[in-house]
Amino acid sequence: MHELAIVESVVDAVTRRLPGATVTRVHLEIGALSGVVADSIRFCFDLATEGTGLEGATLEITEPAARCRCRACGAEFQPDSPIMLCRCGSADVAVLAGEELKILSVQVA
């Protein structure tokens, strides 16, 4: 359950950037290939922000889909699983999107 660790890192990063602020909204970006489950983040967000400047904040999560480019044939495609195979059969692909794990913005009171 590393999602708890992820929320702790969000609290840590926001507190470092905006010390003492009361945060009312947090906007995260969690890509499909990030290894983090957005629903698990939602599940533990209230618990992990309790007693911090983020307590009671609304959580918004944008979930970019995975997008790849095949290095063999040049095709761009959206993989349907974390195993990123191009239709040409090549596994040599560049990930264009889906690995994001970012704090996009916060709203302060």
Partner: protein
């Protein structure tokens, strides 16, 4: 609660001196004998944090990686290791896949040739540290408590306690877990993932995040293949699809079969590291 891993009581780092005594930072002031480990963090995100707008009700754009702090500390660890010509490996697998057994065998077979030090990550006990010390390695045990992975802070502190010599090999044996450790850069040069044949051939497709970023996949316990239905060809084909850049080495640390490939891989990386 630990800010990075979410564990209840933070990690406990212990190391053993040559007289066999275990020390932990709380019981043993490191200021008295500075090991010269990686620097304390400063300016870890590389930009000024003091000048952001703070008006009421305002949306503040942060655009910051969630793991930026861990990644910055991992970069410091990597620079520190590289500066000393030390090869650091992040060794990961599920619990019981044979990480410690492989390291014991490696220390036995290559001990005269390579200085191998080990950072042992486990939730509890110093059992693995005891095994590696008996195998002749310098070792630091990190107990993560309820934490499920090592992070860059724990490794920084462990490196300070371990004080590995220039040109040595440091193996960071991560907490047995195929999920969480995949996310946390520790500052290693290479990621080595073990998958034992007793776990089944489907582990790479079930845990793609772990295997996708591996530089080397060791398929361990191959001496048990005659007793199992493990499909090595299928496992290797799946790995080629998930992690096309990874080298796959089947071996048995118990019988020694296939360990030559692992030692060759290790020697080659050591040579490249010392060549700078």
């Amino acid at each position: 609660m630990c800010a990075t891993c979410g564990c209840a009581d933070g990690a406990r780092i212990r190391h053993q001196h040559d007289d066999g005594t275990w020390y932990s930072p709380s019981a043993h002031d490191h200021g008295a004998h500075d090991h010269g480990g990686p620097d304390e963090e400063h300016g870890t995100n590389g930009h000024d944090h003091g000048a952001h707008p703070r008006e009421h009700g305002q949306t503040v754009t942060l655009d910051e990686k969630v793991l930026a702090r861990n990644d910055a500390l991992a970069r410091q660890n990597r620079d520190w290791l590289r500066g000393r010509g030390i090869l650091a490996l992040n060794l990961m697998s599920s619990p019981g896949a044979g990480k410690t057994t492989l390291l014991e065998r490696t220390a036995h077979d290559l001990g005269a040739e390579l200085a191998i030090a080990v950072i042992e990550g486990d939730q509890e006990t110093a059992l693995d540290a005891g095994r590696m010390r008996a195998a002749g390695c310098h070792v630091v045990q990190v107990n993560t408590g309820t934490g499920c992975h090592l992070d860059a802070v724990m490794v920084r502190d462990a490196l300070t306690a371990l004080d590995p010599p220039c040109g040595s090999v440091v193996v960071i044996e991560n907490v047995g877990n195929l999920v969480c450790p995949a996310l946390f850069d520790l500052g290693e040069a290479h990621r080595v993932v073990l998958a034992s044949v007793t776990e089944g051939a489907d582990k790479p497709v079930k845990y793609p995040h772990m295997f996708r970023r591996a530089d080397l996949v060791v398929v361990s316990k191959t001496d048990l293949l005659p007793y199992l239905d493990f499909d090595l060809a299928r496992c290797t084909a799946d790995l080629a699809a998930i992690s096309p850049g990874a080298t796959v080495l089947p071996l048995s640390a118990r019988s020694g079969d296939g360990t030559g490939g692992w030692y060759g891989w290790l020697r080659q990386r050591v040579a490249l590291t010392s060549a700078g």
